[in-house]
Amino acid sequence: MSESIIFYTLALFLLGGASGMITARRTIFSAASFMLSMIALSGMFALLHQSFLFLAQLLVAVGAIITLSMLVIVSVNISERYIPKEPHLGRALLLGALIAAPIVALIVVALQAHFTASFAPVPEDFGTLASIGATLFSAWVLPFELISLLLLAALVGAVVISRKGERS
């Protein structure tokens, strides 16, 4: 009972934050809503006893991404007049909804199948830091290393692009 109350409260914050993020007129409120939904999402992980995902979500999404995007907002000062005009907003929304409809239908069907299925309880150490680390460095070591290479390439690329102006 208490679990479902917490779940629905978190879901409310999650959806409210997500819709606030795309509808807010000022970027600062978008960032605040995004933070709200990210904290609610980490709360969902905590509700599922996934301690590592819960903390990683807080650490990465809130601690790093929100701080970075806030830093960008603070440095760039985007005001409303820089945002492009959207004359056919209604039509665009309708078209987008039509395109998204099959995917939503697919999700609904998949969720319905899941609601009726019965789940086996996960093992005791599922989702702990130790088990995730062991899985990541045994079965998934190649993708893990490839992603780290990708990130390194992105990092070097960012440095090169930011240095471009200095040479001339």
Binding site: A32, M35, L59, A64, L71, V74, L129
Partner: protein
């Protein structure tokens, strides 16, 4: 949930709240008195209630009352985002308060086969929680500073954001090397690891095993908590008060108190990871429980000496002007406090005598050891807080570009190198 578990949980939560919140006035007082000591003056010592000054602690309570009753001024030029502007100091404050909650104050109690942790949040991912929640504090600074619509606040906000990001990296990497050393992220297990000895005689505290990680970790934490020499965020001589410029009354007080709580939690985490936490050096908890009788006898001898010295010191120093012959209020205060201390001494002696000569049950000894470990923890915490304060009043502030340079050019490569060396040593020992 058994009665014992309920009592221990409630006790730990209350203890954590007290250690975080009641520490604020004490730390504010300590800051002013240590500043006075370093600058060769007295510091606050006049405010009193019925003649009781307690060395000036009362001043902090007067400050709290002043801040609570101050006019709630709201700057007129802030048109939008009023709710978020008001909420921002609360975000910083609650993040600092929550980050303190996983620090263990004593070893796990084993009552009727139940392992009860003396932690407000009895979880085993202590250090990750501290990093994750501690990083939230910067969000309140960013929101508050940006919504202030003030160029000084804006500069402070930019500084806070970029400094927070650049020092989060060496902090996290230092933690990684400590995680490799301890092979755990649980604070309790880290403290248990530190009861070993290295080279046969040194306690295996983190600072002995990983001195470089200790330096990196503390420097990064000094920067994260905005303490001098890294207080560029509110560099008073440059940008007024940084992000706090437009905040007044309780909103300002929340930022202010949040800073002290963050410092207190940083000190708690440093002593847990690098200075043996709640343990006395050389004595692990089972040894303590075994030999608590003989320890009590040692305490019976030591306590009167300590309290005698303290009373002498207090009577000598609770006097501002020796030329003033009728400083009656202070004499009266010193007399009452001496009586209180003597009563405390008698009570302590009785308790120690009970543990030394009567036959206490196993449970009683366990609880007594836990209480003693809490006392050791608080003592270490106070010492480290004083270290934070002394550093603040000794070193001048860095320029902002120097802060960034230190973070990226020195701390980050050193932290990476430290991980590399740690990994090599661990693999080498394991072979």
């Amino acid at each position: 949930m058994s009665t014992a578990a309920l009592i221990v949980t409630l006790g730990s939560v209350v203890l954590a709240a007290l250690l975080a919140l009641m520490m604020i006035p004490v730390l504010v007082w300590l800051e002013r008195r240590v500043a006075g000591l370093i600058q060769d003056r007295v510091g606050p010592n006049r405010t009193n209630i019925m003649g009781f000054r307690l060395g000036g602690v009362i001043q902090s309570f007067a400050d709290v009352i002043k801040l609570v009753f101050k006019e709630e001024y709201y700057p007129g030029h802030i048109k939008t985002g009023r709710a978020l502007y008001m909420l921002a100091p609360a975000i910083t404050f609650s993040a600092a308060l929550l980050a303190f909650m996983t620090v263990p104050f004593a070893d796990t109690l084993n009552i009727d086969g139940e392992a009860l942790r003396i932690q407000a949040l009895p979880v085993e991912y202590g250090i990750l929680w501290y990093l994750a929640i501690g990083a939230l504090g910067i969000i309140g600074v960013l929101f508050g500073g940006w919504l202030s619509h003030n160029k000084y606040s804006l500069l402070g906000t930019q500084r806070a954001g970029s400094m927070g990001l650049s020092y989060e990296l060496p902090l996290g990497l230092a933690v990684v090397s400590m995680m490799l050393t301890y092979n755990t992220i649980d604070f309790n297990a880290m403290v248990a690891w530190q009861t070993q000895t290295v080279l046969g005689f040194l306690p295996a505290w983190g600072v002995v095993v990983q001195p470089l990680a200790f330096v990196l970790f503390s420097v990064a934490l000094f920067a994260e908590t905005n303490r001098a020499p890294f207080n560029v965020v509110e560099g008073e001589s440059e940008i007024v008060s940084g992000h706090m410029t437009e905040f007044s009354a309780m909103k300002f007080a929340l930022y202010f108190m949040g800073e002290y709580i963050a410092m207190n939690s940083a000190a708690a985490v440093i002593i847990t990871m690098f200075f043996g936490g709640y343990q006395l050096p050389y004595l692990s908890t089972p040894e303590l429980i075994e030999s608590f009788g003989s320890l009590s006898i040692a305490f019976m001898v030591m306590t009167p000496l300590i309290i005698y010295c303290f009373i002498r010191w207090m009577r000598h120093n609770n006097d501002v002007r020796p030329s003033l012959s009728n400083d009656g209020g202070r004499r009266f205060e010193a007399r009452v406090l001496s009586i209180v201390l003597l009563v405390k001494l008698v009570v302590l002696e009785l308790i120690f005598a009970y543990f030394a000569f009567a036959q206490p049950s196993a449970l009683q000894t366990q609880v007594a050891v836990a209480v003693m470990q809490i006392a050791v923890f608080v003592l270490k915490l106070m010492l480290f807080n004083i270290f934070f304060i002394v550093v603040r009043w000794t070193l001048p502030r860095f320029r902002f570009d120097q802060v960034q340079k230190l973070g990226w050019y020195y701390l980050l490569p050193l932290a990476l190198l430290n991980i590399f060396i740690t990994a090599i040593v661990i693999v080498g020992v394991g072979l």
